[in-house]
Subunit: 339 residues, 2 copies
């Protein structure tokens, strides 16, 4: 595994992988053409390894089994996998946890290498956001609701950095996790709206044995808070159960989730949303696929979770996680995100 | 010349040109590889025309010699030229001239074909902005000053559509005109900030015989207004003259330009800006390259013009326009945009 810190080196690698022309040979190969060609798309007959499909997994590091499941999904559909680690200051609010967000590059590098990641991209904040940086990308309505309402500017920061990373790495396919479902909806909308030439894939939520969705922020929980955090999955389980028994009224599903969350004294509800999984607009009833998404504060930690009811396609059944990296009891849990 | 209306067809052409794999053969060529490759980057040994460099000129149509000079510039640095015509509703304010902006695709197609353009891309508004469209790109400070102050949202619309077009066409190089200098600064900033992998070139302003910068909007001027419009170039000429004689005080240059414009009764100044040509911030003196930019209303028509004093690199000396398309007297004017 190569650790790549520079943007230009990352771009060079991407061109090399995707064109099949070894890095550093682009100029030479191009020179064999008509003198105008470039960009590593060497002419026919140049020595080429053959183009390979490039998969990309963007993360903020503090890797856990959830991230590694994204790497495995990327691996299934590509030849070479780039994993990026960049704690993006622009997606943290001024009162948020940017400074204390967990960082452990050494441990992350071990996990990524063990997973077979070919390139670990860890750009510096200064190279991603030089002093003159002044561009932002906004997905207008989708960014204002749910997590966007409590975290103004958050999704602008996410969209901007994801667009930058996609442009730097130029992958054939990028994989995102379903825990950040709103992020997924926004990035997919941005990619379509801006005509990005990349395939985007969603991978299902990976959970701890007791159901808590894996998150780098779980490490901030005290033991008591960690116990209390189980209420997120439990409340969604209640929604799944009601839906499975035929309940289709929004008020009933919403009320059951809220009621469940309110049973936990350490939990403070930020929002419970019962919405269309494409538009994130409230639904009148659960007649089609419906996203039930929640954000809850447990002590000083804000946690999110969600389930899509009524459509396996949107949040497909999860494959078994690697028992090496998950506690063995978790390997049997295959029902995440489906009713 | 092929007229291309669909985004997917345009993308197919771009891939074909840049990869050297003929359009429609991508799947087949890719199939000869390892089964995972795609996107028209066929493996070594596939039948290839050889990759060619793709040049791009974005326009809103109503083509004039200014646009055609951009095509010629693109031709100098690429093998295949795409010219786009799209009157972008998002860059017009509600009270602006979107509806009455001149449109004449037939005439434009003749001019483009005569210039040797290989592909004329004329997407529909509905395909560029489908009903779900909700993404915008903003270059924050640069978009708020000068034309951005009088036209709120204008540069957000410009940046968004240019990013879309660059993503659809994926050119090696794109050429912009110096008349819209602020647009150039913003697009260059956006491309750098978003890590776009494209070369951007600036081509100098092309002027009518009497100095008026060519613009599709000039057609809206009455004969009296057309006469009055000469004041824009004349006022900049005064700035050039002062600068050539060693004047470096902002107040003197600014005052001379304003004074000149105020001599024309039909002209109403929107702004006169004496600014840094990279940051668009006011300069303290003309010690370095300085942009003098003006916007003036003549009747109902808003016209802009500019000159960069003190740096030929930023706005290089213009090559002679094609006498076929310009009035012959114009062919001798080579001093635009230089002091």
């Amino acid at each position: 595994m190569e650790i790549v810190t520079g943007i230009s080196r990352m771009r060079e690698i991407s061109r090399s992988v995707r064109s099949g022309v070894p890095a550093g040979r682009e100029e030479q190969a191009a020179g064999e053409g008509d003198g105008k060609t470039g960009r590593g798309r060497g002419p026919a007959g140049a020595r080429r390894a053959g183009p390979r499909r490039l998969g990309f997994v963007p993360t903020m590091g503090a890797l856990h089994e959830g991230h590694l499941s994204l790497v495995r999904r990327a691996r299934e559909v590509s030849d070479v996998v780039v994993l990026s680690i960049f704690v993006n200051p622009k997606q943290f609010g001024p009162a948020e946890d940017f400074e204390r967000y967990p960082r452990d590059l050494e441990r992350d590098a071990v996990l990524a290498a063990r997973e077979g990641v070919e390139f670990l991209f860890t750009p510096s904040t200064g190279e991603i956001y030089p002093p003159t940086f002044s561009t932002s990308v906004e997905v207008e309505r989708l960014s204002r609701v749910m997590c966007g309402a409590s975290r103004p500017g958050h999704f602008r920061g996410v969209a901007t950095v994801v667009l930058k990373l996609l442009n730097i790495i130029s992958p054939d396919v990028a994989v995102f996790g379903a825990k950040d479902f709103q992020q997924w909806v926004i990035i997919r909308r941005m990619a379509a709206d801006l005509n990005l030439d990349v395939e985007l894939l969603l991978a299902p939520i990976v959970r701890e044995t007791d159901g808590l969705a894996m998150s780098s922020r779980n490490a901030s929980l005290s033991p008591a808070e960690r116990q209390a955090a189980r209420i997120l999955d439990r409340s969604l389980h209640r929604a799944r159960g009601l839906f499975a028994r035929g309940e289709r009224a929004v008020a009933v599903i919403d009320g059951a989730v809220r009621g469940s969350l309110e049973e936990e004294p350490l939990a403070r509800i930020d929002y419970v949303a019962v919405v269309d999984p494409e538009t994130l607009e409230p639904v009148a009833s659960l007649s089609g696929p419906t996203l039930v998404a929640i954000a809850v504060r447990i002590g000083g930690t804000r946690l999110i979770d969600n389930v899509v009811l009524g459509n396996e396609k949107i949040a497909p059944r999860q494959s078994a996680p690697d028992p090496q990296l998950c506690r063995p009891e978790a390997a049997g849990r295959k029902d995440e995100n489906v009713p």
